[in-house]
């Protein structure tokens, strides 16, 4: 019941069902909650970009990689940062090379020279254009969108709307296939309402304990199960304390790796105290946790 047909030729769906998403992401090491699997499935079916918002380290970037791996698609990533512009996101002309070409073109007509310097050879495609021009199945990841300036959202809106781009010298380029598009945001600022409306929205938070335990075990397979469970319990409690930065899934994983590397297989107070810095990066947070949890 999607309102607009997806491209001219109907695009083959990536997944058969929500359960299929769960299975195939798990095959490549990504453990998806119902929310994640459902929204990935729908984003593909409805041909809409998926905006994933949530704290750092909960698996937003990894999700795009996993979807690409699971479906055999190529991953094209646009990493946003403060000051990123169209030239970095879409394309730019290689001016230096163009100038060289023009100086070397004595005797040619200007028309020929101009056609030549605006040819493929002198174009520097950036991720958005690359994703649109690819012939093969593609996952486009626009990572940490909230770091880019608001103007870049206008560009995204244009490109993600109908997946076409106008290069003045060439005309309009339309995508052969609609890339599976995933935008991430750490919510350091609100994205514009217009961009949000283009997307399906997923708030990805810390997983429930059971899922987190499975994630840790998937990432650190040699870790004893009981230890993984213990880590997840403690991290869960730490998240309930007022901290500057609550520990994320990536910290739980790091903690597991650290214990394994140190050859520790039980978690007594001494061990927690010695390794707490892996989970709580701010000194003040660690001090606070030690005091509140009576670890001294």
């Amino acid at each position: 019941m999607s309102t607009e047909p997806v491209g001219e030729k109907a695009q083959k769906a990536l997944f058969d069902s929500v359960d299929d998403v769960v299975t195939r992401l798990a095959d490549v090491g990504y453990l998806a909650s119902t929310a994640v699997a459902t929204t990935v499935f729908l984003a593909d079916r409805l041909g809409k970009p998926l905006l994933v918002e949530g704290p750092a380290g909960v698996g937003k970037t990894e999700l795009a990689r996993a979807v690409a791996d699971a479906t055999g698609a190529g991953l094209v990533r646009l990493q946003c940062y403060e000051g990123i512009d169209e030239a970095r996101a879409l394309y730019e002309w290689n001016h230096a090379k163009q100038l060289l070409r023009i100086t070397a073109s004595q005797g040619e007509s200007w028309d020929d020279t101009r056609d030549d310097v605006f040819s493929e050879e002198f174009l520097l495609p950036r991720p958005l254009l690359t994703a649109i021009r690819r012939e093969e199945p593609t996952v486009l990841l626009v990572d940490e969108t909230d770091k880019a300036d608001v103007e870049v959202e206008g560009l995204l809106l244009e490109v993600l709307g109908d997946f076409q781009v106008t290069v003045p010298e060439w005309g309009t380029i339309t995508a052969n296939q609609r890339p599976f598009t995933l935008l991430t945001s750490n919510a350091t600022r609100e994205l514009s309402e217009a961009l949000k409306r283009r997307c399906l929205f997923l708030h990805l938070d810390f997983p429930d304990p059971e899922l987190e335990r499975r994630i840790v075990l998937a990432r650190v397979p040699q870790l004893p199960e009981a230890l993984a469970e213990e880590l997840v319990r403690i991290v869960g409690v730490l998240r309930g304390i007022q901290l500057r930065k609550a520990p994320s899934v990536s910290e739980t994983i790091d903690w597991g790796r650290t214990l394994l590397a140190l050859g520790l297989d039980t978690l007594d107070d001494e061990t927690v105290r010695a390794t707490l810095g892996v989970v709580l990066k701010h000194q003040a947070d660690a001090q606070r946790a030690v005091a509140e949890l009576r670890l001294n």
Binding site: M1, T34, T38, F201, H203, R244, D268, D269, Q287, L295
Partner: protein
Amino acid sequence: MSAPSVTGGLPAHLVDFVGALRRAGIAVGPGESVDAAAVIAELDLLRREQVREGLAAAMLRRSGQRAVFDALFDLWFPLGQGAALGEVALPYAEDGSVDVEALRDLLAGLLRDGDTAAMAELARAIVDGLGAVGRGQGQGGQGQGQGGGGGDRGDGGGGRPSTWSAYQALNAVRPETLLARVLADLRGGPDAAWDSPFAEEVSRREVRERIAAFRRMVTDETRRRGAEIRGREAAARTGVPKEGDRVDFLTANSEQLADLRRRVAPLARHLASRLAARRRRARRGPIDLRRTLRRSMSTGGVPMRPAFRRPRPGRPELVLFCDVSGSVAGFSHFTMMLVQALREQFSRIRIFCFVDGCVEVTDLFGPNADLGGVMAEITARPGLIAFDGHSDYGSALGRFREGWPDVVGPRTSLLLLGDARTNYRDPNLTVLTDLAEHARHVHWLNPEPQAQWGTGDSAARRYGEVVPMHECRTAAQLAGVVSGLLPV
């Protein structure tokens, strides 16, 4: 799930649901409605959690909207009808009444094991067996749902209850009082690998969180059952948590509070522009008769140039005195951020926080500070807690007056923030009276509903006799009060 059987079919039902979301303050536009319909067409309607996540993805745009959405989803796409009991049944005594002690044993076991699924079933059973109010007037019970083990009991007193009460159900079971017992169980249990204060503290917090989750389950179930009696529209109006600036500070969860904080800047801009308009209107003060007459001496007594009373006596200094204990912390945090965003309206702002001690935290509110995380630093300040960490207004007021005697003067507007719950300690009215005499204005902002002022350990009524007290339950209310207090 029983939604598809609604008259008018699924599309009409969806439109109805959209209406409910809008009334609750979630702006669902036509685009979102179309997407929602597309979502429904792609999903297996018997997979309720997938439908929930799919609709949320199509209709929501901010994480803070989720609690409202979930509550309304549960009403419009209910898990079942009637009691909808599962495997977990209530224990009954010989005389046919609920055996509360056995029930508490059962719940203690589930809390110890963290068995969420069974806890949810028990919550349903508890509401069904202990939450009915006014049962017995009607004839014949409502159809018992697809009951499992507990369904054989028939319908209690037989009549249709007039309403369901979470308060009544929870009051019978009192889950919070199980904490010590569950911890003792854990300590003696087979996995008692721990025997340190740390391990105990981890368990304590874990179990406390489970208890809180269980209470929420009971409340949600009460709402669902209530909707069957009163209709879901009525249940949505009264029972559903509210969104954004209409959410109660004292009951908001951390996500709602984070969402609120993100709205501080726009709210401050809005208040500032309203204030600018008010100033334009008020620029000319009333005519100052005496000065006009004096001026008219040079024109032979004919008042050619009327003199206006000076409209603005200069920007005041603002001093905040904020309770940051327990559930009041979210309210204080929001208000401090809002005031900080309005700093241009004041010549100076100083901020003090208290629990039973008192500290100045003005330095934490510098121009580049991360105000979202500032509470962690405030609570870590030595001196905030002087004694046992329970708020003590009287002693905090005393320390404030003694420690910073010059802070409050004739140019100061003093705002006190808190619920005035003193834990039955001396409210120290003398100090407040003294402050009110020295300051230009003193106002008290209280996040509790006015109906609760003065109940229990609340000294709100007594403080309210000394200084004006304003109810500020929601961001909307707070904005109204603050804008009224801003200097023109």
